[in-house]
Symmetry: C2
Subunit: 314 residues, 2 copies
């Protein structure tokens, strides 16, 4: 059974849309709690009730069961970040959440409506809070002398805990707090594909964002059903035929240089990490390879690749 491009979208962007089915949306959202910060009357994430329960009676946290809101205390970025750090370190010690076993000592930023930094949170904990996270994804491709497009496609190390053995974009990584998307990309291009800084700074082109609202499955490792709204800054890099990306760390097993058809066949077999499949779809649409003449769900797919998230973004 071939997987359609719309299936790939549904797999990654699984959170319901209000307009598509208001009743389903209301039924879904009413099961979650909003995450808020003190003195701000809007949600910055959605959380499972089973997760919120763990914060009951914990200092710095207040649960409003009637309106289903978990509020983090603290008047400044520093106070809120310190409070969340203390709580998470305690939860990590007690081994309560499986996702916390992948502690990375890397902070992700959470922004408010005025694009101000509300707090930082340990990367592996962000799905517990359902907050928006940010990343960079690079599509690297070659035009052969015959004019054919080929796409550099890495396979993730089979030993990776999350999505091991699946196909990825040429370079991809999360943006840590304090880092700009562009500097994050330059760093990751060196680490993951051994691409020189000069090449990256002179040849890579920004091409927008891909945004979606993912509901985590067992494939991601850790608790399932956690909410993960994400924004990926996407970039393109046309490489000369003689530049070969090489894994610079142990995250990538091998780089393939595949024709567009080979990439699409692998997508239809479900071999791509879910959000990387979306980045490929966006790339193929922007480059006129997937068109409305060949893709029944073209309009729907283009919109779904650019979901407007319900929480503030940077």
């Amino acid at each position: 059974m071939a997987i359609s491009n719309l299936d790939l979208i549904n797999d990654c962007d699984g959170f319901p849309y209000y307009q598509a089915d208001p009743d389903l949306y209301a039924a879904s959202v009413c099961t979650y709690f909003e995450l808020r910060v003190q003195d701000h009357d809007y949600a910055v994430g959605y959380m499972l009730p089973s997760v919120v329960e763990v914060f009951r009676e914990v200092p710095s946290w207040t649960i409003d069961d009637e309106d289903r809101i978990l509020t983090l205390a603290g008047k400044t970025t520093e106070e809120r970040s310190a409070a969340i750090k203390t709580t998470l370190e305690a939860l990590r010690m007690t081994g309560h959440f499986k996702v916390l076993e992948k502690w990375r000592d890397e902070l992700y930023p959470v922004y408010g409506r005025n694009k101000e930094l509300l707090f930082n949170v340990e990367r592996c904990a962000s799905p517990l809070f359902g907050v928006v996270t940010y990343g960079v994804h690079l599509s690297a491709y070659v035009r052969t002398k015959e004019g054919e497009m080929k796409i550099w496609t890495p396979r993730r190390a089979r030993t990776k805990q999350t999505y091991g053995g699946l196909l990825d974009n040429a370079v991809a990584g999360g943006i840590a707090s304090g880092e700009s998307p562009w500097e994050s990309l330059v760093r990751e291009c060196g680490e993951e594909a051994s691409l020189s800084e000069d090449l990256v700074r002179s040849k890579v082109k920004a091409a927008g964002t891909v945004t979606y609202f993912h509901i985590r499955t067992s494939k991601a490792g850790g608790e399932t059903g956690l909410l993960q709204p994400e924004c990926q800054y996407v970039y393109d890099l046309e490489l000369p035929e003689d530049v070969i990306p090489k894994p610079g760390d142990d995250e990538v097993e091998e780089f393939y240089l595949w024709s567009v058809d080979e990439v699409r066949e692998a997508m239809a077999r479900g071999e791509f990490k879910p959000n990387c499949a979306l980045v490929v779809l966006d790339f193929l649409i922007r480059h006129g390879i997937i068109t409305n003449e060949t893709e029944r769900d073209y309009i729907e797919i283009v919109s779904r690749l650019h979901r407007r998230l319900e929480f503030p973004t940077l």
Copy 2:
């Protein structure tokens, strides 16, 4: 006062978003009527109550005042299309709606959830029903020997009834019922810019869609407040420096070959037709000219350019 890129988005994509403000959304939507067709339990458009009132007691139309639904009778595409035609011709004769004074004898398609054609409707009447309409927009550009990008930018004839004298995309037009986006584009490229069919078929690249939900203002001519959800298929064409687009009809006054800065300055002065400004924004983002480093509202703008419409699309 310079107009920001987000202002341009808000100007064209003015219909509220549920998630941004559920109360405002509910307050807006509850003032409208849904347009439905017989035996289909979902909306294909939103209509103003003042428009719906005109359909009271008219054969083929049923108003449900309690649930605020206007239903078009007919079991087949042909029956429904004939019924709407009869009604609109009568309304045109009585001079009831100003938008019907621009009768074009051109039919627009309205689709259902299974992408089936539900009915055709005279182009100028589509905003009365608030149904999704489709168009094609081409960005034509040149790379000079020095590597600078320049964008072909036509000024609409000042005599045009709608958006006269404003700036446009190189080629733009509506897609009539029965016409494919690609064939529509090829035809419009000849009519509006005198571009040869060979050139268009070999060089134009599809690049996605731009979708938005517009609330009509007086600039559009006719009744204000009418709802206009639209899907524009967008295309890019890199032209050699020696190919000069020429107006092939009287819709365009003049073509300018402008630098990116000249285009952006004209956008900031509000000189572009609203939906054409959005197509330019999408072009500049896809080509890495507007980036998140230079545009404060980058994430919001990318999402808003690709709104998921609440009605079925092709």
